[in-house]
Amino acid sequence: MAMPILELRKLTKRFGNLIALREFDLDINQGELIGVIGPNGSGKTTLFNLISGYYRRFEGEIIYRGKRISGLRSDQIARKGIARVFQSYVLYEDATVLENITRCFYLICKTNSWQSFFNTSRYCKEEVTQRAEAEELLQPVGLAEFRDSLAGKLPYGYCRLLALAMALATNPTLLLLDEPMAGISHEEKGLVINLIKKLGDQGITIMLVEHDVKAVVDICPRLVVLDFGRKIADGSPEEVTTDRKVIEAYLGVEEG
């Protein structure tokens, strides 16, 4: 039996008296595409904040590829291959789409500042291969035609695609997608869904937090449902959408 790529053990995060996440357990296998849904304030984003190292103080353990990563800094976690994509965030608005991606390679890559400062041959060589790699990344994401546009001028939905491409530039094994479908048009949604499916086919493990339940059911073979910081369901979309507790959480309990 394969070892899970990510093991979450009794994760609990408190904000004062509020318990945002309560003894949350989850195993994610390599290559799995898993959707996390739940009503507003159910702890979905807190979960991502714990995994990606935004919060470093919490109870429980996070084990990634057999090693404990809870308590590490977010940049250390990123370097281990866990990429988190925000709803929409362009780091360098004044740079082109292609440059945004090469800069991501650049931030992660091995040459240090001194080498790049003096333009050593190794740095130049890396730059050439990086440009080629960046162009390759733009193709599947559907941004090839925008490669020379300024990132700050991209339509909203395409910023989302760019954020995804930038995350891919860090060559992740585990991708955390934080509401990639929020606030974008129907066509753009189609693009994002196709891309996520494609990435799943490539063997990247993906965790998807999303409000759009229909889209998640469409993409993910496995769903986890959170309510008030607790996991209330974990299974296939059919099991989960017919689960009584899930329906109650979303629709409320009928009194009387």
Partner: protein, 285 residues
């Protein structure tokens, strides 16, 4: 048209304002706070130059580099030891600490170096004539070094990985960290560079003016005005703002005498009325 010598002095003053203002704005754009003790770091740098170059007789350029590094390291110590531990409590506590450091550093300087004005001899004596114009070598060297440093800073920020990390961190520290940027290291690098710029400015200015524990205030105010004019958070803005204040200051001293001090503030008021976000600033939501 003012005489060429006045233009030269304007260039000189601008260089210094630009060096100080860009250090201040660099730190501001990444840490989100104004380091009010920036002028006192400049003052400590001037004393370092005085003791190394004027008293111990160490080569001027060596003294300059040591001063820049020493003030840069002091900046890192302030960031790590005082500002970073306070960061989780919001922006106000670290800002208040930098205000307190003004008095600490001025007190230390008065106690150990004494309140008397000290003179630093010319580092590069002699004069050069360019066409009909005769300029002291000292001033030429100051302007040349300032220009070289600013070109270096531009290259550092725009073309190196460190600079990329800084700019990413200025946009959003957490998102930057998702791409592997180490927040702590970027903060230290920024503070080092920003404060080293103050050390360089002090080294350049010390031979032209006198040194005492209170010389930090005017440069700080001028630098603050420069970055308000140029737009908070923009190094280019600091350059333009510094140049505007430097040239207008010298021209108006030439024409108006003591009234010139007023002009810096009039310029700020005019800019803020016409363009509240500063010349290169972006409106903030």
């Amino acid at each position: 048209m003012p005489p060429v010598a006045v233009w030269m002095d304007g260039l000189l003053l601008s260089s210094i304002y630009i060096l100080i203002a860009s250090g201040l704005v660099l730190v501001f754009s990444i840490m989100g706070i104004v380091n009010f003790a920036h002028g006192q770091l400049y003052m400590l740098g001037a004393f370092l130059i005085y003791y190394m170059f004027a008293r111990a007789g160490i080569n001027y350029f060596v003294s300059l580099i040591i001063t820049a590094v020493a003030i840069g390291l002091l900046g890192i110590a302030i960031e790590r030891g005082l500002l970073r531990p306070l960061a989780p409590n919001g922006l106000l506590p670290p800002v208040v600490v930098t205000l307190g450091l003004i008095f600490l550093f001025e007190g230390i300087a008065t106690l150990f170096f004494g309140p008397a004005k000290k003179a630093v001899p010319s580092a590069v004596p002699g004069v050069s004539s360019i066409g009909a114009l005769t300029v002291s070598n000292e001033k030429l060297v100051v302007v040349a070094i300032a220009v070289a440093v600013m070109i270096g800073l531009y290259f550092l920020v725009s073309h190196t990985r460190m600079g990329l990390a800084m700019r990413a961190s200025a946009q959003d520290p957490y998102t930057a960290s998702l791409y592997g940027v180490r927040r702590g290291r970027t903060l230290s690098q920024t503070m080092f560079i920003g404060c080293a710029l103050a050390g360089i400015a002090a080294s350049l200015m010390a031979p032209l003016y006198f040194v005492d524990p209170w010389i930090g205030l005017t440069p700080l105010i001028m630098a603050l005005l420069a970055i308000v004019i140029g737009g908070l958070g923009s190094v280019l803005g600091a350059v333009v703002g510094g140049a505007l204040l430097g040239f207008s200051g010298t021209f108006l001293i030439y024409y108006l005498g003591p009234w010139s001090e007023l002009t810096a503030f009039l310029i700020v008021i005019a800019v803020l009325l016409l363009r509240p976000e500063g010349i290169f600033g972006r409106p903030r939501a």
